[in-house]
C-alpha cells in the first residue's frame, strides 16, 4: 500500500475530521493504512458513511471488513475558487467521487491525475495520506 504526505504536522491548517464514537474505527483503520468499511452482521449490507445501525434489517451489530481500496470514478468537479484559505495554493483541484468495488462511495481528491485527464469510469485505487501524526485521509490515484 502506498503512502503520500501532503501535510506537515506542525502547520496543517485544513479542517480535520472529528470522529464520532460510531466512526472512530474507520479513522483508526485509516491511520493504520487500512480501509475498512462497516458491514451489517445481521444481513450483510455494506454501509457508508459510518453509522450505528443497518437501514435494511435495523441491526446494530456490525463488523469492520477490509475493502479492496479499488474502485472507479463515479463523477467529479474541479474547484477553481478559494473557499478555505488553507487551499489557496492548490487551485484548481478536483474533488472526485469514487465508487468502491464494495458498492459504497467516497468523496476524496486525487494525488496524481490532472483534472483534464479525469473521466467517469476511470479505475482508481486508494492512497493513504498522513496529514498529521494522528490523522490519515483517504486519497486516490490512477489504478494500473
Amino acid at each position: 500500500m502506498t503512502t503520500v504526505t501532503t501535510g506537515q504536522a506542525q502547520q496543517y491548517a485544513k479542517p480535520l475530521p472529528r470522529a464520532t464514537p460510531d466512526s472512530e474505527p474507520y479513522w483508526q483503520h485509516l491511520k493504520e493504512h487500512r480501509l475498512h468499511i462497516q458491514r451489517c452482521t445481521g444481513c450483510g449490507k455494506f454501509r457508508m458513511y459510518p453509522r450505528p445501525m443497518c437501514d435494511q434489517c435495523y441491526s446494530f451489530e456490525h463488523e469492520w471488513v477490509p475493502a479492496s481500496g479499488k474502485g472507479t470514478i463515479y463523477s467529479w468537479g474541479v474547484v477553481h475558487q478559494p473557499v478555505h484559505p488553507a487551499w489557496r495554493e492548490e487551485f484548481p483541484f478536483a474533488i472526485v467521487e469514487v465508487e468502491l468495488e464494495e458498492g459504497v462511495r467516497l468523496r476524496a481528491t486525487m494525488v496524481d491525475v490532472p483534472s483534464e485527464q479525469l473521466s467517469i469510469g476511470m479505475p482508481v485505487e486508494i492512497v493513504y495520506d498522513d496529514v498529521t501524526d494522528e490523522v490519515t485521509l483517504p486519497r486516490f490515484r490512477r489504478a494500473l
Partner: protein
C-alpha cells in the same frame, strides 16, 4: 376524493425589499422591513400575525414579536430544508391554518447575504443535517453548494448528454426575464458566449451558472380561504403542496441515482392534491441555485422525461412566450437570492395579473419548486 387541504388556504400578502449588493442596514432591520412590506401588501396590522415561520440566519420569530409588539403568536417554526424551506413552509402554513391553530402565518427569509457573512467565509457551526459532510468531505476541501452539486451536474451530462449550451440557455433566458424587472440585481442581457467566457467556479459550473449572493428579504402571508376573500388583493390559493426528501439525505455520494432529487417524490403528491398535471401549469418558479438545477427539476417534476430537460430549455419553451415560462422574475440567477421566496412572490403577482412586463397572459395555475441541502425538495401549485 378531493384532497382535504386543496384550496383551503391562500397567499394574501407578499413583500420584498430591494435586492442589492449592499442594503446599508443591519440584517435585522432588513428583515423587519420585509415583514412590514408583506403586512402592508395584505392590508394587515403586523400585530395580527399569529403564526411565524422564520428561516433566516440570525432572525428568529421572537425578533418579530419583540419589534412589532405582536401580542399572541400561537405557532412558530423553523424548517431545516435549506432552499426547499420557503415552498415547504407553505405546506406547514396550510396545515396549521386549516387546523385552526392560527389565522395568519407569515413566512420570511433573507438577510445581508452579500455585504454581511458570505457563504465562502465558513459556515460557523454546521447544522445537524450537515454533520456527515463536515466529518468526511470538508477535510477534502468541500464546503459550499457549488462543490456539492458539481459532480451531480457532470453525472447528468455523462448520462443524458446535457451540454454547456443547455446550461447557458437557462442563464440567458433568466437574464432576459430579469431585464424586464426593476427589482432585479442583474439586468444587462447576456449571450451564450458570455456564459462560456465567464470564469469557472467549480467545473462544470461557470460563474453564470451560479446564483447571486444578495442583500434582501422576502416574505409571504397566508390565511384560510374564508378570511382571504375579504383582503386587499384577490386570494391566490394553495391548491397543492408537498415536500420530499431524497434517498441518502445527508450525503449525495451514497445515492443510487445522483441526479434524482426530493422533488421527484413531492411533485406527484402536489399534483394529486391540486388535481392538475404538468400540462395545466401556465408559469413556473423553479429553484435555480444553479442552471443545472432548473434542467434537472424540469425532468424530476415531470415537465419532460429524464434527460430531456436540456433540450427543453434550449428550445425556448421556458422563455416568456414559450409553452412554460420559468422564473419570469429572473430567479436566483439574475433577480436575487432569497431562497426562492422571491419565486413565491412572483407566482403570486402572475396570478394576480400584476407581473408587469413579465406577465404571462391569463395565467391561472403556477408551479413552484424548492431545492436545498443535499437534494431536499418541495413543490407547490398555486391558482387564482
Amino acid at each position: 376524493m378531493t384532497h382535504p387541504l386543496r384550496d383551503k388556504v391562500a397567499v394574501v400578502g407578499i413583500g420584498e425589499t430591494r435586492y442589492s449588493k449592499n442594503s446599508g442596514v443591519s440584517d435585522l432591520t432588513l428583515q423587519l422591513q420585509g415583514f412590514k412590506l408583506a403586512c402592508d401588501d395584505a392590508g394587515l396590522d403586523p400585530k395580527k400575525i399569529d403564526g411565524i415561520v422564520a428561516m433566516t440566519l440570525g432572525a428568529c420569530s421572537e425578533d418579530y414579536m419583540t419589534n412589532f409588539g405582536i401580542p399572541d403568536v400561537r405557532f412558530a417554526a423553523r424548517p431545516e430544508m435549506g432552499g426547499a424551506s420557503p415552498v415547504a413552509s407553505l405546506q406547514l402554513a396550510a396545515a396549521v391554518l386549516d387546523a385552526g391553530i392560527c389565522n395568519y402565518v407569515l413566512t420570511i427569509v433573507g438577510r445581508n447575504q452579500r455585504s454581511g457573512q458570505r457563504l465562502g467565509g465558513g459556515m460557523g457551526v454546521a447544522p445537524p443535517q450537515f454533520k456527515v459532510v463536515a466529518e468526511h468531505e470538508m477535510p477534502m476541501g468541500v464546503f459550499i453548494p457549488a462543490q456539492w452539486y458539481a459532480p451531480m451536474a457532470r453525472r447528468h451530462m455523462h448520462e443524458y448528454g446535457t451540454t454547456f449550451e443547455q446550461f447557458a440557455a437557462v442563464s440567458v433566458t433568466q437574464r432576459y426575464h430579469a431585464s424586464l424587472n426593476d427589482n432585479a440585481m442583474m439586468r444587462d442581457l447576456i449571450t451564450v458566449e458570455d456564459h462560456h467566457h465567464s470564469r469557472w467556479v467549480v467545473d462544470p459550473f461557470r460563474l453564470l451558472d451560479c446564483c447571486l449572493e444578495t442583500d434582501g428579504v422576502a416574505a409571504v402571508i397566508l390565511a384560510r380561504a374564508d378570511r382571504a376573500k375579504d383582503m386587499r388583493h384577490p386570494p391566490v390559493y394553495v391548491s397543492g403542496v408537498a415536500e420530499g426528501h431524497p434517498e441518502s439525505p445527508m450525503s449525495i455520494t451514497q445515492r443510487k441515482e445522483m441526479t434524482v432529487f426530493g422533488v421527484t417524490k413531492a411533485a406527484p403528491r402536489a399534483f394529486a392534491m391540486a388535481g392538475v398535471g404538468p400540462k395545466d401549469i401556465d408559469v413556473a418558479g423553479l429553484y435555480d441555485c444553479f442552471t443545472f438545477t432548473v434542467i434537472n427539476q424540469l425532468e424530476d417534476i415531470g415537465f419532460c422525461g429524464k434527460g430531456e430537460g436540456g433540450p427543453m430549455v434550449e428550445s425556448g419553451a421556458t422563455r416568456l412566450g414559450g409553452s412554460l415560462p420559468v422564473n419570469t422574475h429572473g430567479g436566483l440567477l439574475s433577480q436575487g437570492h432569497v431562497q426562492g421566496m422571491n419565486h413565491i412572490c412572483e407566482a403570486t403577482r402572475q396570478l394576480r395579473g400584476t407581473a408587469g412586463a413579465s406577465q404571462v397572459k391569463d395565467a391561472e395555475v403556477a408551479l413552484l419548486s424548492g431545492y436545498g441541502d443535499y437534494g431536499d425538495g418541495s413543490v407547490a401549485i398555486l391558482r387564482r
